[in-house]
Amino acid sequence: MTRWTVSLATVMVMFFLGRSAAAQRLVSGGGIGIGTGLQRSDLIEEGLFQRARTRIVVPFDFRNDEDMSQGIALVGIFEIEPKVGIGLEARYVRWLGKAFSGFVGIPAIIAPKTLVGVDVGVDLSIPLGKSGVALFVEPSLAAIPLGTDLPGDHVLLWALVSVGVHAQF
């Protein structure tokens, strides 16, 4: 009993007094951009594609400085034209160098009606000086098979391109 008590007290002291390792630091970044593209569904009777909604994207990415080659990102999606909508996307991002990354994600429109799907894309960053600010160009493909915004059992396909600015915090 005494041994367990001492062990527990030691662990608690170490836990509360110990500092986090300086090597492990959260590296985060964020930005804002605008995007649009093409969309397709088997509902289209004329032509192959329609223009997708214009959207403002607000990405935030997070990664550990011990492993800068991968991280997660959350992207706010604000559809603004021709109809409005709000959504969110969670991504797993893999960096292939400083200027190039690829991602897979789960985009979801949550209002006024819902859409849920998967997407894949790449992100090209063009640094603007040494401040950590960069322009990004981000083509992506998405398949949206779920949600109340879909009229029946149809899959919506998006081919989008977003451009904007990104900065490291």
């Binding site: 603004i80 006024p112 009229p151």
Partner: protein, 176 residues
Amino acid sequence: MRNSERTPRRVFSIVAALTTAAAALAGCGTYGDPCLRTTDCGSGFVCVEGKCQIDVGDIPIDAALGDAPGTSDVPRVNDVVSEGVGRDASEEGNPLADSAGADTTPDSAGDGDGAPTSSLDAPRDAAQADTPSEADARAAADTGSGNGDAAGDDVGGDADSASVKDATVDALDAAG
């Protein structure tokens, strides 16, 4: 200080302008417009097979049909009146009822058609006069069972006691 006060106002103005622009740019999504998402269509429309269609769920079609008063009530009124008045006029042996109801006196019910009023004419007239109210028709039928006077009054709609008396006198004159 003034700049810090102006900044929220500017932000608000920019947001308002952007919102207005977005609303102005938003398509209407009216009937027949192509759509891939339900929200591509405007209010009152739904996306069906790639085109905006009228949302029939919002239109009270059933209520309109159910509220039509004449279609379901008129046949019942006719039936009630024909059965009640026809039986009263023909089955009761009241001579006054006969003269008013029309078996012996041509057009004594005063329905204006110039033809001899039969027991079948009276309910037809009653139906035309009292179709809007089933209660009236029933009252007419009930009252008519009492005597021919009241029956002529309600069923014919224009045969009062004076006309019944005149009809009786005319009948007696014709007979005499």
